[in-house]
Symmetry: C2
Subunit: 331 residues, 2 copies
């Protein structure tokens, strides 16, 4: 059991799951549950998926800075800052919103969503939380003079590079792993939590990587730490953790209760999956895990307290419960 | 395991839980998981909580019809029809929105929520999904000349009647059961799934109840069948099931993955809880359970197919997976 939802005198709901904390060699430092079963990593491995953006030379050719690299790793909340910067980046590579193939959804950020609704404006593909990642994909096609149409398909050169990089970094035979389609249209390929964590550990401790990949890994993680808001959105756990402890943690959520993190100072990576896919539980679990791993000072723990032990309030604002880490974190 | 979330070639997430199908005597007809552990029933027992509205004489004194009784059992979606009818009912008992103590939240119904946002109108307590239940509570206080202020507190006569009725119908010692506070402010008291299901079974097969309660149970269940939309909201599972098979099923969801149902033709009640609290899984599970219990004809099953095997589509509208009942329903 990873997380308990407490209301009044009782645990009302319970979330199971598994996690792996792994070093760059793949050695498990800490784990719970089945870490050798495939899990769809969803958006939690965007930092790995961003490697070709640097390794193709696209980032240098188009003069991308840390902001664009952070957006390439983002599940952003569709706030004006995200939309404007992705739009400007698309413009820089001679493309526009219509070249994206991620689809449109309302911003995750509530005020931004409400602003669109008030203006009777439908959301665009720029508001899609994956628009930065997709712009990074398009950027590699532009750099190499490829026809970018259909870039979300597994057979397209853009996606082949992404899949190869993730396979290399996680030691996974991608052709044999179970596959599906992600929310934003690209392939999702099942990786074990141990493999995902190792991929993140190799970014965190890139000493064993070839020069180009070592440099790419460092630039990506540095960009996430430099611009947490661009990776996530206002009030998000990943933003708050990286604002408070960005020197220790690069944190990335994925749909269906997944988190990955790179811990450069410890030279470790971690991957976590809530069995039932609940984001609320993934947040409490990953916060507890980072805390237990010693990623936070006392002051940082105080600052992150609302995420470590989130209160549950009812409609009238009365505190009626709490979400708390369960026995799996008693170490 | 009750429900599997499938994406592409793999089960991506899994939902555990328990259910009990019970007759009016409390005999378990079918069950899975731990049905003897306390669960917070949340809104799933609103039909039981509505009994005092009839038994105090309030329903007759104020000339309430099936519409008001349906609203008293509702977790409505805050659509204009719900708001107007609750408002008119409050007016009829000489009260107004300000007498409610449930708090305000945006309508569950998306178009209704967006209409408020577009008009820059904050939601009122009338939009709270529990406003009908609360108006029923206020109605009993008005009928008996009680000071209604504080009616959401366990010690208030209004709530004492509600708690006593639920305890009687479910055979639960309410004073010793674990307690907390519900989303709308009233007490939540832990009941076993077996007890919840028995309470619903006694409404479905009220032959063993005293005359007054038998009449009240029948009127409440008849009202739910007559006005499914008032009990729930446009597109909701409970609405669709009762529109299609209202002669067989009276269905009520509760927060944190709970469902209760009364099955008058079978003389049975059922209660279900998803361990992790996920509503998506509770819907798939209860639909599967009703189907396995023979509540649907072939035509009805066809009509309810979108709820029995809900498709998962991605942002671009591509079908990427399905939610399906798991092994617990292989009977």
């Amino acid at each position: 059991m990873l997380v308990e939802i407490v209301r009044g005198a009782m645990v009302e709901s319970r979330h199971r799951g598994a996690f792996a904390v792994v070093d760059a060699a793949g050695k498990i430092v800490r784990s719970a549950g089945a870490v050798d079963q495939p899990v769809f990593p969803r958006s939690a491995i965007k930092p790995l998926q961003a490697l070709p953006l640097l390794e193709t030379g696209a980032a240098d050719k188009y003069g991308l800075g840390a902001e664009e690299l952070a957006l390439a790793c983002a599940s952003h909340h569709g706030e004006p800052v995200h939309v404007q910067k992705v739009s400007a980046w698309l413009c820089r590579i001679g493309m526009g919103e219509g070249d994206l193939e991620c689809g449109a959804h309302l911003p995750t950020d509530v005020p931004s969503a409400q602003a669109l609704i008030r203006g009777s404006q439908p959301p665009s593909q720029l508001h899609n939380n994956c628009s930065g990642k997709h712009t990074g994909f398009l950027c590699t096609a532009a750099c190499l003079g490829e026809d970018h149409r259909g870039y979300i398909e597994a057979e397209h050169p853009v996606m082949r590079r992404v899949i190869t990089a993730v396979g290399d970094m996680t030691g996974t035979d991608m052709a044999r792993a179970p596959a599906g389609r992600d929310g934003c249209g690209i392939p999702v390929i099942g990786l074990t939590l141990q493999a995902m964590a190792q991929g993140m550990a190799r970014m965190a401790d890139p000493t064993g990587l070839h020069d180009e990949r070592r440099a790419a890994s460092t630039r990506i993680l540095d960009a996430m730490a430099a611009h947490p808001l661009l990776v996530d959105g206002t009030g998000g756990l990943a933003v708050e953790v990286m604002l408070v402890a960005g020197d220790q943690v690069r944190l990335k959520p994925g749909a269906e209760g997944v988190f990955c993190a790179a811990l450069p100072k410890l030279g470790l990576g971690l991957a976590l999956k809530i069995e039932d896919g609940a984001g609320r539980a993934a947040e409490v679990a990953v916060a507890a895990l980072l805390d237990r791993l010693g990623c936070f000072t006392d002051d940082q723990r105080m600052a992150l307290h609302p995420f470590l032990l989130p209160k549950i309030k009812n409609v009238a604002g009365v505190e009626v419960g709490v979400m708390r880490p369960a026995a799996a974190f008693d170490f």
